[in-house]
């Protein structure tokens, strides 16, 4: 069975390590914050200028001066810090953010990512995505395996305009966890009940399957 968005997020949360500074993109990545394993402390960075992002505020406690990069009202946790956008992207570029999770429209087998522009459609802009993918040491893409038309989003080459080149390290889709290797997409784990054959058929880029690929455990 294909994973739900929540399960994709939960599986990615296993990558978190104690003390990590983490930047979570809009959409599925945001959900990762709900599944931080027990005993692990991570600090969430919001690239509009905050370390130590907390959950959404309770109704009536929204503060218009306190939003995240998705422009949502949020809160802070104890020990948070505010800073300007230059320092925010400065710490990202300097590799101080340990993990970045973001969505994508396409990922190539070399780790190129496209997630900001569809030719012919109104382009809203890259926001901070190009900075994040060019700089973060560890980039995980959270996305569904196939686009709405049923085409694979894991390709030999991206067809859409690129956001960054050779930067993605890992992809977690509704069907599988895959690492980007020099040889292509390496299958690390399958969604429960999803066969290697199904993943193979839905992955247009080169897929490497070594030995017995375990099922994810939730």
């Amino acid at each position: 069975m294909a994973l739900t968005k929540e399960q994709i997020a939960k599986h990615i949360a296993k990558e978190l390590r104690d003390g990590y500074y983490v930047n979570l993109g809009i959409g599925i990545p945001t959900l990762v914050a709900n599944y931080i394993p027990e005993g692990i402390n991570v600090v969430l960075q919001s690239e509009n200028g905050l370390l130590g992002m907390g959950p959404f505020p309770f109704e009536g406690e929204e503060d218009p001066d306190l939003i995240n990069a998705g422009k949502q009202t949020i809160t802070t946790v104890p020990g948070s810090a505010f800073f300007d956008s230059a320092m925010s992207f400065g710490m990202i570029r300097a590799g101080k953010v340990d993990l970045t999770v973001l969505g994508a429209m396409e990922v190539s087998e070399r780790g190129d990512i496209a997630n900001w522009k569809i030719p012919g459609k109104m382009v809203k802009g890259m926001g901070g995505a190009m900075d994040l993918v060019a700089s973060a040491r560890n980039i995980i893409v959270a996305m569904v395996h196939s686009n709405p038309k049923g085409g694979s989003k894991l390709l030999p080459e991206c067809t859409l305009p690129l956001t960054g080149v050779r930067c993605v390290r890992k992809i977690v889709t509704d069907l599988a966890e895959l690492d980007i290797t020099n040889e292509g997409f390496k299958l690390i784990a399958r969604a429960p009940g999803v066969s290697v054959e199904e993943i193979k058929s839905k992955t247009a880029g080169k897929l490497i399957v070594e030995g017995d690929v375990p099922e994810m455990i939730f």
Binding site: P57, D65, I67, K71, F82, D84, R93, G125, M130
Partner: protein, 232 residues
């Protein structure tokens, strides 16, 4: 030399048709509401606006777009805004999209007297077209030039008569960077106090970067995405 001006209208009085202006804020958070209203009243046209976003249909820079005052937007993310999209598709409005960190760094470069900076953002993408790419230790970077703008307009929480500014929470965002980048920098503040009332250790923008300051009024501080959690 007094930096205090009486109103937003006085602060923007010498901004002319065709000027290049920077406006602080991220989304609708920390935007110079009073100066935007004054620019709309003033009715100047042909502006090039550098701002991370372009507001929404009826707030922020959207108000200037509605009056067709903007010739070109330089932003990292736009288009929460139907009028914006209409003008863009009809060719009335020009848009230059640049990565958010590059936007921030080009302001910083201006404020720190650095003519250009290197960033890896956009390497290998269409953002790199026409730009110099240079390798340092096997990593590729783009050369990005410092902004040069006539006016920077920012919003702070507190300010003093010397032009020192303090921002609040994530309303800081691009404001201190743009404050440093303007040939003339205009600051509107929620609270304006006499010199000496702000703790000099707490100041985010030293007054040397600020040329005009006034106390703004009637801040709406509209929330773009109101998200809440339920009480358990």
């Amino acid at each position: 030399m007094k930096k205090i001006v009486a109103s937003a209208d006085e602060a923007v009085s010498d901004i002319r048709d065709g000027a290049t202006i920077m406006l602080g804020g991220f989304g609708l958070c920390g935007i110079p509401e009073n100066c935007i209203a004054a620019l709309v009243r003033k009715g100047i046209k042909g502006l090039t606006c550098i701002s991370n976003n372009a507001g929404v249909d009826d707030f922020g820079i959207g108000l200037m777009l509605n009056q067709k005052q903007v010739k070109k937007m330089i932003s990292s993310y736009v288009g929460e805004n139907a009028e914006f999209e209409r003008q863009l598709l009809s060719g009335e409005l020009e848009v230059e999209l640049i990565p958010q960190g590059t936007l921030a760094s080009r302001c910083l470069a201006a404020g720190y007297g650095m003519p250009a900076i290197f960033t890896p953002a956009g390497v290998g993408t269409e953002v790199a077209n026409g730009k110099e790419t240079r390798h340092f230790k096997d990593k590729a970077y783009l050369l990005e030039l410092a902004f040069e703008v006539d006016f920077a307009i920012v919003k702070a929480w507190k300010g003093d008569t010397e032009g020192n500014l303090i921002y609040r929470e994530t309303a800081r965002n691009f404001n201190p960077l743009m404050a440093m980048a303007g040939k003339i920098t205009i600051a509107e503040v929620e609270e304006l106090v006499p010199a000496g009332e702000l703790d000099p250790d707490h100041i985010h923008t030293p007054g040397i970067y600020v040329h005009r300051i006034f106390k703004g009024v009637h801040y709406e501080k509209r929330i773009e995405q109101r998200t809440v959690r339920k009480v358990n």
